[in-house]
């Protein structure tokens, strides 16, 4: 007895929202990044669900590419974080506010 796709979608939706709220609430840069990964995973789950529901491999192809790009993104993002926060101990996202208008 297969689980209907709606349940998977609901799960993915909840995961996505948790990731979004976490991104907005946390101050530690790395934790914020991890919340972004949560959101990406939620999206992946949604695509795979639809691939099953619609019997279309296209959903899985998209997940493939999302995975690759997410990896690249993490690499570059962490590089930036390293470059910015090298010298500061205990730095948070709130400390980079030089663009204040």
């Amino acid at each position: 007895m297969a689980v209907p796709g709606a349940w998977y979608l609901t799960l993915a939706a909840i995961l996505f929202v948790i990731g979004a709220v976490g991104l907005l609430v946390r101050r530690n840069v790395l934790v914020m990044f991890m919340c972004v990964e949560l959101m990406l995973n939620a999206v992946n789950l949604t695509f795979v669900t639809f691939a099953r529901m619609l019997n279309d491999i296209g959903g899985q192809i998209v997940v493939f590419f999302v995975l690759v790009v997410a990896a690249a993104e993490v690499v570059v993002g962490l590089g930036i974080i390293v470059a910015i926060f090298r010298r500061r101990a205990g730095a948070t996202a709130d400390d980079i506010s030089l663009l204040k208008g």
Binding site: M34, V48, L54, N55, I81
Partner: protein
């Protein structure tokens, strides 16, 4: 049987997500993330996306989370963050509001079963299941014919990402070090 898998994996996913969001220590958050990723991989397998499940474990849980942990150790951002205080006014209530609104909007079409509220033009690339061919073959067929250019582009992207990371994270050269304090300050 499917239900049991779904419920266990779902619980793991949600527990991990909440752990990421609420952990004070970033190392704990990273480990919670691993739990979530494994749960997602299990659900991939349950939906017959075998190849993707494996790739998920290898790339996401294996490489990306490890990267995270490396950076945590490198930068020493392992101190606990004070979760009680929110220096930006209105941020938390607004975030929670957005969360609730977003969730409601996402669940609305699911509840009513009206996919046409969200979908665009239907198009089918290829079947997701087949009696004869394994999942990898089906994936590969679509990937290397229809999406070949995108595939090549992502390989370029990866090269660029590597170069970028190297450039961003390197230490400044010794000649720049004399009298420098500002060059690498953002």
């Amino acid at each position: 049987m499917d239900w049991a898998v779904f419920i266990v994996a779902g619980a793991a996913i949600l527990a991990g997500a909440l752990g990421v969001v609420t952990s004070r220590n970033p190392v704990h958050a990273a480990l919670s993330l691993v739990l979530t990723l494994f749960g997602v991989a299990v659900l991939f397998v349950a939906q017959r996306a075998d190849f993707l499940a494996v790739v998920q474990v290898i790339v996401y849980a294996g490489a990306i989370v490890v990267l995270f942990l490396f950076v945590i150790m490198l930068l020493g951002v392992d101190q606990a963050e004070n979760l009680e205080v929110e220096p930006l006014a209105g941020q938390r209530p607004a975030a929670i509001g957005i969360g609730i609104a977003g969730l409601a909007l996402l669940l609305l079409p699911i509840a009513f079963g009206r996919w046409e509220w969200l979908s665009g033009q239907p198009s089918v690339v290829g079947p997701a299941r087949s009696a004869t061919e394994p999942n990898v073959n089906l994936l590969a067929k679509a990937l290397f014919t229809r999406y070949l250019v995108a595939f090549e582009a992502t390989s370029v992207l990866l090269v660029i990402a590597v170069i970028g990371a190297v450039v961003l994270a390197r230490r400044p050269l010794s000649t720049e070090r004399q009298g420098e304090t500002v060059t690498e300050e953002p």
